[in-house]
């Protein structure tokens, strides 16, 4: 039985201007999972993320961290935020210091660790995220991708149990997208629960253990990538495309080229392998 780390029960959130951003969200987040959140801009993903670490207090409903209901007192919030970290979409929104090392050390210092421990953690994060080459540069000299790496190190240094990344690949070039995705995989391998929001269906399909679809402040579908992305009606309602690997696979199954009982390919490489196997079989015949 997997352990539930965060649970939301029917939470709603309304902004001061009256916009109702969340209209009753129920979700259980299991420890160690890789979860992708999809949905249009303004569908409530980012608001939901800010509820997870107590920046926003839901208007109604309750959140639980390891079965303990959220209460909005300082000591609980500090404990919660040391366990649930958020990497914001725009690194310029997050970086406040001109020095990369000082920037990364901020979260660790706030945990009240010994200076030696903070130093060790900062060094480790800098190495893990490949920041070494530009760690002496001031933050305003860094490229968008480098700032993103620092923004992730900011959170990783706090050693959280859950990391939430709000559109980690937004505005990144392919090289930095690969780097960032690689680091996200590394986190998941270490057992950190990783939540990302994304618009990239192919990536969500290939990467996630679980996919959650947001639509106008509600979760309209969640489950394994295969179940969510096979539900064409819901995809249509949220203006999402079916992942290309799955779409091609389904087409090829319909033509009788593939056996539909095969596990569906998670990405184009796996699909290519299937095609390769067929051509090998036909040449053998």
């Amino acid at each position: 039985m997997e352990e539930t780390i965060i649970k939301a029960e029917n939470i709603t959130f309304t902004y001061e201007d009256g916009t109702q951003a969340l209209k009753g969200i129920d979700i259980e987040i299991k420890k160690g999972r890789k979860i992708a959140f999809l949905g249009a801009n303004g569908s409530g993903k980012s608001t939901f993320f800010l509820c997870l670490n107590g920046i926003h207090q839901p208007s109604n409903g309750t959140l639980y961290y390891r079965a303990e209901p959220y209460h909005y007192k300082k000591d609980f919030l500090l404990k919660l935020r040391s366990k649930v970290g958020i990497v914001f979409q725009d690194p310029d929104r997050q970086l406040f210091s001109a020095s990369v090392r000082q920037e990364i050390s901020f979260g660790a210092m706030n945990l009240g660790l010994a200076i030696e421990e903070v130093k060790a953690r900062v060094d480790r994060s800098i190495e893990d995220l490949e920041i070494t080459a530009f760690q002496e540069k001031p933050t305003h000299f860094l490229s968008g991708g480098q700032k993103k790496q620092v923004a992730i190190a900011d959170i990783l240094v706090m050693d959280p149990e859950v990391i939430v990344l709000d559109e980690p690949a937004a505005a990144l070039d392919p090289k930095h997208t690969t780097i960032v995705n690689h680091h996200i995989d590394q986190m998941a391998k270490k057992g950190i629960t990783v939540l990302i929001s994304t618009h990239d269906v192919d990536h969500a399909y290939a990467w996630a253990d679980e996919v959650v679809l947001f639509h106008e402040g509600k979760i309209i579908k969640s489950g394994t990538p295969k179940t969510v992305f096979s539900d064409e009606k819901t995809l249509l309602a949220t203006n999402l495309q079916k992942p290309s690997a799955l779409r091609l696979f389904d087409d090829l199954c319909a033509k009788g080229l593939f056996d539909p009982s095969l596990p569906p390919p998670r990405n184009l490489e796996e699909l290519e392998q299937y095609i390769h196997d067929i051509s090998k079989r036909s040449t053998a015949l």
Partner: protein, 259 residues
């Protein structure tokens, strides 16, 4: 973006101990300002320029350009000091204007020379610090000398925000120009006003967002970050002491000789 900010990061003296650099600049500054000696000012001006340009590797032309900036102020103020409007003509210059004279004296000119050189020497001390020491290092020094936290935190955030806001302003400006926001004077001024209004709104929004992001990292009212510039070595302290002693000795000589 701001060239004077960029230069210190490329200085060859960047990684020298910031405490020593700051102490040296401050000692030299205090000695210059307190003695106001012409000979000493020339000495300090030469020493600081040597350190910044030759040792630090700052481009000479750029350095001269920076040194020329205070000249506009110096020229105006020294003109006011040197030239008098009086009923009796003085030694150097006397232009009669009605029953009055526009006039200057040797002692007045000497005073101006002294003033200009002292000011330039003092500026060279500050440029030495600015052009070799990045802002985070200076903040660390301020923390060491027990400057109030509030001021240091404000400086830290303001320094970072200068670049964030400049970037926003630059993007807004470009997008205005792309839509012919500068087609004539009237439109230009209007666009500038709108840019400033939007910039204010964005700055407020950014500040709120950054506060949320800091809260997310357990911010509890005090910005605590790692300080790790090494302690000054014995050699560095000895060098500083020797240089300061030499400077003091030179200051005493100048005072004795009256130059």
């Amino acid at each position: 973006m701001i060239i004077i900010d960029k230069l210190c990061y490329y200085s060859k003296l960047r990684y020298q101990n910031p405490y020593i650099k700051t102490a040296w600049a401050m000692i030299a500054l205090i000695i210059t300002v307190s003695t106001r000696s012409i000979a000493l000012s020339v000495l300090i001006l030469a020493a600081m320029s040597y350190l910044t340009v030759i040792k630090g590797g700052t481009n000479l032309r750029r350095y001269c350009h920076f040194m020329a900036i205070p000249f506009a102020f110096l020229f105006l103020s020294s003109f006011a000091i040197a030239v008098n409007f009086s009923k009796t003509p003085l030694s150097v210059l006397s232009l009669p204007i009605g029953s009055w004279y526009l006039t200057a004296s040797f002692s007045g000119l000497y005073l101006v020379l002294q003033l200009i050189l002292t000011a330039l020497a003092a500026v060279s001390c500050l440029y030495f610090l600015t052009l070799t020491t990045p802002m985070p290092d200076i903040l660390m020094v301020l923390k060491k000398v027990r400057c109030p936290y509030l001021i240091i935190e404000m400086m830290m955030l303001i320094y970072r925000f200068i670049f964030v806001l400049l970037d926003i302003a630059y993007q807004l400006r470009i997008s205005q120009i792309c839509r012919l926001g500068n087609k004539d004077k009237r439109t230009s001024w209007k666009a500038l006003g709108e840019l400033m209004a939007v910039l204010l709104v964005r700055a407020m929004k950014r500040a709120n967002e950054m506060y949320d992001a800091m809260e997310s990292r357990c911010y509890n009212g005090v910005i605590s970050v790692l300080e790790e510039t090494g302690v000054a070595t014995k050699k560095e302290i000895a060098l500083l002491a020797i240089c300061s002693l030499c400077l003091t000795a030179a200051a005493l000589c100048c005072a004795y000789l009256g130059i």
